[in-house]
Structure formats: C-alpha cells, structure tokens
Subunit: 338 residues, 2 copies
C-alpha cells in the first residue's frame, strides 16, 4: 500500500513511507578530530588543505569524501543515486558544485547557511517519500579557513575574536535516503520561516539564530501535539552558548522547558575548556558531521529511538552586514525515529 505525505497542523509534513538513512559518512579537520567526538568520524586530515591547493578546493574535497564514504558504507555507487541535495557557505556554493561535479548525479543546490544539513535532508526525504526519487543523498560542508577569509578576515591577520564568536567547523556529512527498511527514518519535517529580531552583530550569530530555532520547534510541537519529554533528545545545529541561553529563555516565556532534553552540536564538537573556540562550533559542517556520525551511532546502539534534529542558520552576508542590515535566521527540523 502506498501512502502520501500529509500536512499536520500548519507547518509539519508527516512522511508515510519511512524515508530512511541507509548510509552516512563524515569527515572532519584536525581540531574536530581532537575534540570529544573525534573517534566518531569516518575520516580526518591533519592538514587543513586535504591535499588541495586552496581552502576552497579543500572544502570541495570534504564533500566528495563524505559522499563517497556514505556510498561505500551503503555498498552503493554513484549510479544508484537519483539526486543529490547539497549546499555550503561559500559564495555561489562552490564547495558543493566543484566537489560533486564529476559524479554525474542530478544535482539540487541549496542555500540555508548553517541550516543546510536539515534542509537537504528534508528535501531528499520528502522527494524519496513521494516516489519522485528512489534514492537521494543529502550533503553539506564548511571549512574554518575558507569561511574565515570569506566572512571575516584573512587568517594571516590574526584578528582577535569576540567572546560571542563561534568557530566554523571544518567538516562534512552525507546521508543516503531510501524508503522503508529497518534503519532510522525521517518521520516528519518542519520547514523553517525566516525570523529576524533585529540582531546586527555578525559576531553573535547564536543570538541571531535562536528566534528561528524557537519558532520552528514551537511550530513542530504544536502541530504534533507533543512535548520535549516525548523525545530522547532535541539537537540544535550551532547556536553555541549564547544562542542556546536565548533559546531557553524564549521557550520558557512560552512555558516550554527544553533544558531536560536539549543539546547543541556547536557545544559538543569541541572541548571548550581545552580548545579555544569561544562560544562553540558553527558552520554547515557542524550539524552535518555530527548527525552523520555520533547521532547515527547512537541510533545503532539503541540509545536513541526518537529525536528532533534542527540545524540553525544565519542568512547574512558580509555585504548585508556592511549595509547595516540585521541578521535573519532560519531553522529546519526533522524528526528521526527507528
């Protein structure tokens, strides 16, 4: 019997055919490897160039490694994939397009800033669930060095970072989606709205993203009539310390307590006492590399059975900041079950 996706409440889409994560891969840089989750990742390199001539080419290489790793672990090859949903933080998303250009897989480019992992996972899951695609890949990446010089300053300047600043994760994660088997599956998706409460400090992106995380989580909980306690854990992507505190406050004003269940990928990827990352990790690669390693491993060892995973993005550009604009945020949520 075939079921169709249906909308639940105002915003949430319930998927009926168990679009499942049948393969996943992750790759990170040296600092992420040295962090508390270091052993969870499939691959790493001591050198931030990953054998390439530039940081941008290194980021492309990261995406290629993540997808190839996921395919290898799922015993599939490029011909088995109907479509790839990819994005990154670089201008014109060259991390994705150059990283994946030789794969000959139909390619959908996405831009959701650091929310892109759950955006790509949502698009892939909905389209596989619908039957439009049989098998799809969702992938995203970020690289500390390419992000720093594009968004802030060349590394050579040695700029002092503010206490609210976050550290862009060098990493990538890829997931392969296919309907209906015994693997963890995407049960529901809530696509985020753009939320902008007027934060203008480009060194405090956690604060800019927190309202969107709150908005999406609230929409999901209302639509599904569930509570934070109904889930094993609720991950946000990269709110960091400042954004997490703000999310707690926004939720509490609404009578929602998520402290008992919440974790933020940006706060667990580094050892914040030993590694100098200020407010925590960030970047598309943060939630991507953690979802496609640590989180999937917890499903495998049965510690997780039903979780919410919500990557969080700040939709600014250096140009918008220079023109005095505030920072719009967006967060996309997936409910993953087994």
């Amino acid at each position: 019997m075939i079921f169709l996706a249906k909308r639940l409440g105002k915003r949430t889409i319930i998927l009926e055919n168990r679009p499942s994560i049948i393969g996943y891969g992750s790759v990170v840089g040296k600092m992420e490897r040295e962090g508390p989750l270091g052993d969870e990742f499939d691959a790493f390199d001591e050198d931030s160039r990953f054998g390439e001539e530039s940081f941008e080419k290194a980021e492309s290489r990261l995406q290629k490694i993540a997808v190839e790793t996921a395919l290898r672990k799922a015993k599939l090859n490029e011909n088995d994939i109907d479509c790839i949903f990819a994005g990154d933080l670089l201008n014109q998303c060259i991390g994705s397009s150059f990283g994946l250009r030789n794969m000959k897989i139909p390619f959908v480019g996405l831009y959701g800033a650091c929310s892109t992992m759950t955006l790509s996972l949502s698009m892939a899951s909905i389209m596989v669930d619908s039957g439009a695609l049989k098998r799809a890949v969702a992938v995203t990446s970020s690289h500390f060095c390419s992000a720093e010089r594009q968004y802030r300053f060349p590394l050579e300047y040695g700029s002092v970072r503010t206490p609210t600043a976050q550290w862009t994760v060098t990493g990538s994660g890829a997931a392969i989606i296919e309907n209906g088997n015994d693997k963890p599956y995407i049960n529901a998706v809530t696509i985020g709205t753009i939320e902008d409460l007027g934060v203008t400090d480009a060194n405090n992106m956690g604060a800019a993203m927190a309202p969107s995380a709150y908005s999406t989580l609230k929409a999901y909980l209302e639509d599904t009539k569930t509570m934070p306690e109904d889930y094993d854990i609720i991950y946000t992507g990269d709110l960091g310390e400042v954004g997490t505190d703000l999310l707690y406050k926004l939720c509490e004003e609404d009578g929602i307590d998520i402290r008992c269940r919440h974790s933020d990928c940006g706060l667990i990827i580094y050892d914040r006492d030993a590694q100098d990352v200020h407010a925590g990790g960030s970047g598309c690669g943060c939630s991507a590399s953690i979802l496609n390693s640590f989180v999937m491993h917890r499903f495998e060892d049965k510690s997780f059975k039903n979780i919410l995973f919500m990557s969080t993005g700040a939709l600014l550009s250096p140009t918008s900041t220079m023109q005095g604009e505030s920072i719009p945020g967006i967060s996309h949520l997936v409910n993953i079950r087994i």
Copy 2:
C-alpha cells in the same frame, strides 16, 4: 484517485496530479521594459534602485514585488502559501532571504545560478504534486548592478565588455503552484547534472552552460521518447548567441535538430540591434521574468499548449575563476502543458 510521481527512464520525473501555475508575477528594470517584451511584464521602475538605498536591497525588493504581484493576481495572501522556493545570484542569496523575510512563509533557499527558476519550479511542483505542500511559490531574481559589482567590476570603472559577455537582466518572476485545475501545469521535470567541458573564460558563460543544456535536453527526450517537433517551443534560459550556437552543434552531432523549435530567453529580452547587450541577456531574472509573463501569456492566448522550458546556469564564483577553475554548468528542465 491519487497518483504518485513516477520516474520515467533514467532522469525524468512525471507528475501525475497536474501541479499548475495558478498565479504568476513579473517585474523588470528600465532596459528590459524598453526591450521587445516590455509590455508583457507586470511592473517596472525607471530607476535601478527601486526606491532602495543599494542595488542589493533593490534586488530584494524585486523578489518581494514579484511574489506580491503573483499573489494578488491569484487572489491569495501569504497565509495561503505553504512554502516558498527562492534563490538568486548574490553571495549567500541575500536577494531572496532579505526580500522575503517578512512573509512568514516556510522558506527553502536554492542556489542554481541562472538555472534557479526551473530549479525552484521543479521543487515546488514535485512537492505540491506529492501532497507534502498544498500551495507553493517559486521565485528568483537578478539585478544588473548588483551582479556586475559582485562578479566583475564596480559600475563606476566603466569596464569594456568582451563580445561574448552577456547582460544580467534586472528582473524577477514568481509562480504559484497548486494541484489540478485548468491552468498550465508542470507535467514533467528533469533535474540537471553538473557538466564541465573545461571552459575557463568567465566572460563566456554561454559556452560554459551549453553542454549542460544539451545533456538535460537529451536525457529528457530519451526518457520520454519524444522529439523536438513534439513541442510548440523549447526555451533555454540564457545561453545567448554563443551558447545557443554551441547547443545546436552539440545536438546536431547527436542527430537532434532543435533549430526549428528553439528560442533562448537571453536572445529575446533585449533588442540586440538597438540595445548594447553583446551576446544577449543572462541572470536568474532573465528566464524568471519571461516565464512569468510572456510565456504564460502565450498559454493564455492558446499559442502554446506543450513546451519545454530549461533555465541554464553557470556554477562559478569569482574565487573559483581566480583559482584557475573551469566553469561547471547545470540546466533543469520542465515540461509545461495545458
């Protein structure tokens, strides 16, 4: 009875529930208004800033106008839309995120360079067809002034353009999609693969995009077992003069003659004798503004009943070009019928 999307051949997705263009809107700048299609567009402004302080903010305004126009013409408001699929050429896609941030509609950011109109239309159509969304908007934009200073030189330099260079269209187009009524509908979608034959001249994007247009068109024709003559017309997005000639050659080598049916949006938006645009128009806004005005009007007056529309994109960035990379192209195709 409910039908599911199905894959036809290797690449093409057939939509079964007639996801239809129930509303559309377009807005352009002064030069496009003065071109041969000037009277087709819904709105224009004599001033390239559209009442805003910067070219980037003007581009955001363009998207807002296009979506609002489409909604007004369809007698809908923001609350009637389940999701918006949007993209543009600006770094971090700020044309879309800032233009649409106040709409409170779930937002999917896309990056497909100048292929984004058919990418957004494809995503919206597949997801409406599947039942995941009831009503969705596809929108994209470009702006000559914001693109020139981001990709090439500040306008104030007065740089000399090469004969192969194209002129970025200042414009935006938006389409509203809903299943099953008597309007033109998306019958099939072919998502493009990334094609890169090694063109490195960033002033000759038509040549860089032509192989991807050929690849996608060929996949569609093979999957559907149809010929160019089966369609009223086959549009490409913005190959311009150079790219169009290359597309003809690539098709002819394969025994496919599309000359009898082909038209390129970049070659019809300006009067190339009277307007100094070299190889033709380009930009996300080129195919977007033409699809959502001139093309839809031809469906209304019954001159078109069955067409192929394929926006074409070059996935380069100024950084990739400076690092000596060639230019990957991508083209996404939709079959529109009534």
